[in-house]
Symmetry: C2
Subunit: 347 residues, 2 copies
Amino acid sequence: MVDRAKPGEQARTSAPGPRQPSLADVAGMAGVSHMTVSRVVNESGPVRPETRERVLAAVQKLGYRPNTAARTLVTGRSGTLGVVALESNLYGPASTLYGIENAAREAGYGVAICSVTRPGRTSIGDAVESLRRQAVEGIVVIAPHVTAGRALAAVPGDIAVVAVGGGESAPVPVISVDQYDGARRATEHLLALGHKTVWHLAGPEDWLEARDRERGWRETLERRGLRVPAVVRGDWSPRSGYEAGRALVGKRGLKAVFSANDQMALGLLRAFTEAGIRVPEDVQVAGFDDVPEAAYFTPPLTTVRQDFIEVGRKTFGLLEDRMAGGDVRARHLVPAELIVRESTGPR
Amino acid sequence: MVDRAKPGEQARTSAPGPRQPSLADVAGMAGVSHMTVSRVVNESGPVRPETRERVLAAVQKLGYRPNTAARTLVTGRSGTLGVVALESNLYGPASTLYGIENAAREAGYGVAICSVTRPGRTSIGDAVESLRRQAVEGIVVIAPHVTAGRALAAVPGDIAVVAVGGGESAPVPVISVDQYDGARRATEHLLALGHKTVWHLAGPEDWLEARDRERGWRETLERRGLRVPAVVRGDWSPRSGYEAGRALVGKRGLKAVFSANDQMALGLLRAFTEAGIRVPEDVQVAGFDDVPEAAYFTPPLTTVRQDFIEVGRKTFGLLEDRMAGGDVRARHLVPAELIVRESTGPR
DNA sequence: CCGGGGCATGTTAGCGCTAACGCTACCTCG
DNA sequence: CGAGGTAGCGTTAGCGCTAACATGCCCCGG
């Protein structure tokens, strides 16, 4: 039965050498049936210790490696998850990706990624489709955009999908850091320092995280009956923070600014420095993300830390539930933590 | 974890649902053989236009999706590449990952990632092994560590592997940014400002990039017969840069420092600021990486830019060559570019 | 009017694996 | 001492797909 000379064997033109050993090859060498080898390899079903030894020796000698494609074909399970990631170096999304990969690997899953540049209905749809062809068992969409919600609604319902950090109205479970509460904490911290109000440098309008942070800031002010200054908007980049900072310089009553992320806060600090405004003496600044650099800005930045490992863990857990058939649709929040540093230090 | 009591007892806990349509289902609906459907789907072989229409209609109606596992099993090609990535948020590795994913996607490949925390012989070996089980056709190892070279030597030779940014003595092609030349440029730039020598804040000793940057700095000084100050070493983090900065403060003749990356340079700036040392008036500082923040540090940082998109493109190109059977072993360098900003500005 | 060569399709044989069941010992217990 | 287990294997039948060959058909030249 190990006679493989008969069928068209010289079909391979590019001659990749001897093909990978299969169960049958191992079985032949160990003098057992391929099923016994399968049982040894997968530890399914009883095998006599000495038989196992023979099989393992043959596996070792031949360098046998199970063929995932065949296994997937017959079992319908690939052991792979898909992640739709945003192609960006932004601290949050990148950290989230690693957090998920981490949790997945610990559970024995592989991870296939497919990045999208500009999330819209089609590109997320395409990404999901391309991952499905890779036979993933479940998909995580890192979709911080408002439009992502709509895109997710169009995703076929016969595969487990969870979204992280977005997908507001999406018909899928969503995990995210509690942006609203983080913004509230930062704002209240600034107010507690005695300011009459707090300005806000917001992120792009089509990012849910930007909206939530803005809402957290706005409602905190409103709850206290304080004046809500006009929002200045950036695009997360240090450059946009810098430009916003130049626009803010000279505003009457500018005493405290809450930036929607640390990178923009850095730009702010730069603009203020150039304008001769001292932080924290003249104006106090808080950011969001706690990037590793934040503690070493000039001055060190008060910010809101997000636990992305935890986000990854929760995301994976939820995806597992979905894959097992659970009908989870809740929104899961991971708490945010305020880190106080000199940029809001006592004067 | 889900406890499935006995193999084969109640494996399918979740929706047994109608299984995905197969070629046969489409064939049945279109009234043709499954082979004709295959030909339509893959555009291989002649099919009458009206037949094609019927088939496509059935494909559409049933929502047919080709089964990659089956296709892989029979063709031996999976259309997927593997990337062994470093689990870190470091700007370089993360950017490289996206660069590669980009190039791969444009060429129609999927990407599976497997991250390793602490690269050593075993973990890279494990990662490669785990990717092979996912039937990847080629593997990119983002391996900036010295040990990675040895680990790569132990990787079986029957699969295409290329390394990016490391793997010095590895028996595989290597792509990297020209760290040596980048460091040389930064150092010469600092010297051109009239300093007698340049200090160096190096990266971890077991990172090849750190070694190359240090060598570029050292040999530039030596070529000019200048004194080579003792190297201060950090771990890439802003914190380590800060600590190094505190150690450097007060050194006699400290006029110019070249930091092996921007994050550490930020720590340096912080330490100098706290010590009352002005940059660039008292000491001039250059970094490496050109992270997006660098232009907004206080002061804006002179640094060396790396083109990671280009690295990704070249890496993928080389991997393609390898997969096609080419025996490429060269070391490919992507040039680095010096970006001059205020931290080395004219006094 | 017939045979050869294409075009458009169908048929068959696996790829490597696991699920499901079959078969033989041997062992236990009433 | 026979019925009924169970450990330890083997055998068979696909999973969905593609490569290779087989078939029917029509067109055309001889």
